[in-house]
Symmetry: none
Subunit: 95 residues, 4 copies
DNA sequence: GTGGTCTAGACCACT
DNA sequence: GTGGTCTAGACCACT
């Protein structure tokens, strides 16, 4: 299980769910969140980040849509990392 | 009639109507917009600032509420400046 | 113009827009809000009730759907009361 | 789950939420959306129609008020069709 | 000026 | 997970 000691900035003009997405991607890029590792449950994440669980759902939805994580009902959410997607969001390749 | 060559920044995270309020207060503080001078019509302001007229109405509403301007139906809007109000919004007096 | 000195209860489990609908219907039933009288503007109601204008719009939408009020762009909202509709919503007649 | 391949026309002068209401009623009239079938989630509909979820909610609110659909927290929205209501909105009977 | 429409974002209740 | 509620902000049409 991943450990997290960070909170989104509620004063920031960047939406909470986007801050969470960015934070998660950073962790994956850094290799801190490796493929196969499991995320805390949505309820736990909500407590850790001190946001509503719906905000967590919104962030995870996007990460799922980008193929970075995978959630199976009742089995938690895991990193299925996709290096290409992450690289692409930094700077597009010039092939 | 006052001349204006400034536009709010549509990319800013500061709401358009707030940028317009701030800009107006600055002009009054600077003494560029003196008591008694008339503002362009709402429609003209909308064109000048490149925003919707409703956004102008919203900004003028607040300036009116603060007693800085006064609008009479069919007679345009004029500065009735209130130095105290403006000072107050910089730093509160310590009486 | 109707005078209002009431605010919805933000702590209540009843949604704000529903409290506003109920309050409005009560005023009409009591005959305090008579046919033809004009409501304050949506923006004023928002200030009076200390809610967002969207919440006002949501409440007025329902009253409109029930044929109790009528809103005209640029001309405000008026009571067009329908006694039958109001009675029906208290208790169904037993004919 | 119902399949949808249609989008409201953003250029139309008919409000988006009204287009969505009309489209939905047509589907029900045609018998394509049968009683008991489930609609996609509000968030999915928003993506499909390329509008904000609030616009979806506005449309569903009306369909709900007309008794055509029913939404249950955490359980999605289903068609509870009311043929009379639909017929009535095409042309009133001449009894 | 004002009602109407729409977007973006967030939280809650209930499952 | 999903419907329901609410806020803040902006634009448009019509007067």
């Amino acid at each position: 299980m991943l450990t997290i000691n960070w909170k989104p900035d509620k004063e920031s003009s960047i939406p909470l769910y986007k801050q969470i997405i960015d934070y998660s991607k950073d962790r994956m890029r850094n290799g801190e969140w490796t493929i196969g590792s499991k995320l805390p449950t949505q309820r736990e994440l909500a407590k850790i980040f001190e946001v509503n669980r719906s905000t967590i759902v919104e962030a995870l939805d996007e990460l799922k849509a980008e193929g970075l994580i995978e959630g199976k009902s009742g089995k938690g959410t895991s990193i299925v990392n996709n290096t290409w997607s992450l690289l692409a969001s930094i700077s597009p390749p010039n092939w």
